[in-house]
């Protein structure tokens, strides 16, 4: 977090109280359910930025806008299912990630590349002893993330890019914390393999 953010947070709110988050989420969702039209716009403004980045990296730049629109329409229609058991952010991310994964499955099906698991192990399998070719740039990493299998890409984006804890990711993806950890590590290894020396072309 930047010094400006720390300055703002430090001066405005000296401490965070997690209990307030769920309370505020429930209040906002209740307003949405009650037909408060401004409330849903407020919900959108709070979460659209981060969810757009998720959609951008899961579905690609061309699909990101449509995905974001669909995610919020889904959220609006499913708000009755939000019980406050998790934060609204976790609930929205779970919904968003499921929708992005469905989108990818649909795209794979169109391309005739249906697999049981979205984690196609043949893609960029980690190569032992292949260090990075040089200083890592954001653009190189961005491109490589786009080539990750969907399952570990999802975990990697949520943990390393968005900064969620494994406990939260486990809820979002419907997996165990251990699976979240292993998927993130697998993604990092695959990225290293993609970005490192390429001793040979794999067929």
């Amino acid at each position: 977090m930047s010094p400006v953010a720390r300055q703002l947070l430090g001066r405005v709110f000296p401490s965070k109280r997690p209990g307030d988050v769920k309370s505020a989420d429930l209040e906002l969702v209740d307003r949405c359910r009650g037909g408060d039209t401004a409330a849903f716009e407020e919900l959108y403004r709070q979460h659209a930025g981060r969810l757009f980045n998720l959609a951008f990296r899961m579905g690609g730049p061309q699909a990101a806008e449509d995905l974001l629109q669909e995610i919020f329409l889904l959220a609006y229609r499913k708000l009755d299912g939000f019980r406050g058991e998790s934060t609204l952010a976790t609930w929205l991310y779970r919904l968003a990630m499921n929708h992005c994964l469905d989108h990818l499955r649909g795209r794979q099906a169109q391309m005739g590349r249906v697999t049981d698991s979205l984690d196609d192990e043949s893609a960029a399998e980690p190569v032992a002893g292949a260090p990075l070719a040089g200083p890592l740039t954001r653009m190189e990493l961005e491109r490589a993330i786009g080539r990750l299998p969907a399952g570990c890409r999802a975990a990697f984006l949520l943990h390393d890019v968005e900064g969620f804890e494994h406990k939260e990711i486990a809820r979002m993806l419907g997996v165990s914390e251990g699976t979240s950890k292993s998927q993130v590590h697998k993604a990092r290894l695959k990225l290293r393999a993609m970005l490192g020396r390429r001793p040979q072309t794999r067929s």
Binding site: A5, E41, R138, L141, V184
Partner: protein
């Protein structure tokens, strides 16, 4: 993986290994080039991932969501954003995706494309197709800029009406940022007057305008959160403002 310690590297990087175990991995890394290279690379990937570019959703997305919900019969207002058409819409999408360019330009302190001294006159009406195209582009630019101006005016009015919800320090920081952006808008306008066909100057102006829209939008959201006394919501917005 050949080295037995490699299986512990995931936990080592997560910081979840116990003290003695972490110490053993530390000692191993000091003597194992393969593992130390792996750890360094994975740390570099993790660090770079945290600073990847943040993309902003185009305002049209909310309009489409609101319109769809209204069509579903549970009306949601769509007043916050004007309807951007044609160039304005395309410009906002493209410029927001490349928003970093303006900030980089500003940081590097490069001159805003020469001086305004020799401002080119506006393109005059001409029978030549290229001149007509220029007129058309100019008109679209003016229209897009006017739409930004209208949006900014609306958001600024909301901000000023709710400014008492902000503590003085926060308001001062936000005002300082608005001042920087206003300065950039002024410089970009001067550059565009000097070189009307410069895509860099156009990008800079619309990037700066978009930055102002985003900051005002975040400020309004911040005011709402602070009025509600929601520290987590405020923290999210402040964090987003710094991304």
């Amino acid at each position: 993986m050949s080295c037995p310690y490699e299986s512990q590297i995931a936990d080592y990087l997560e910081g979840t290994l116990g003290g003695p175990e972490a110490g053993r991995v530390d000692a191993h890394l000091a003597g194992c080039e393969s593992c130390s290279s792996l750890v360094a690379d994975l740390r570099a990937i993790r660090a770079t991932a945290r600073v990847l570019e943040r993309h902003a959703p185009p305002p049209e997305v909310w309009n489409r969501v609101a319109a769809q919900i209204a069509a579903d019969g549970r009306g949601v207002r769509s007043h916050a954003w004007p309807t951007f058409r044609g160039f304005a819409a395309a410009a906002m999408i493209v410029l927001m995706l490349g928003a970093g360019a303006w900030f980089a330009w500003e940081r590097q302190g490069e001159p805003a494309a020469a001086t305004a001294a020799n401002a080119a006159p506006p393109a005059s009406a001409s029978a030549e197709p290229s001149a007509r195209r220029t007129d058309s582009v100019d008109a679209q630019l003016q229209q897009a800029e006017q739409q930004y101006a209208d949006t900014i005016q609306g958001l600024d009015a909301i901000r000023q009406a709710g400014s008492t919800a902000l503590d003085p320090d926060t308001a001062a920081v936000l005002q300082a940022n608005l001042t920087v952006i206003d300065k950039a808008i002024g410089e970009s306008r001067a550059a565009l007057q000097s070189e009307p066909s410069s895509s860099l100057a156009q990008d800079s102006l619309f990037g700066a305008l978009q930055s102002k829209v985003s900051l005002l939008q975040d400020t309004v959201a911040l005011i709402n959160e602070m009025r509600k006394g929601n520290p987590e919501g405020t923290a999210r917005i402040v964090s987003g403002m710094n991304q």
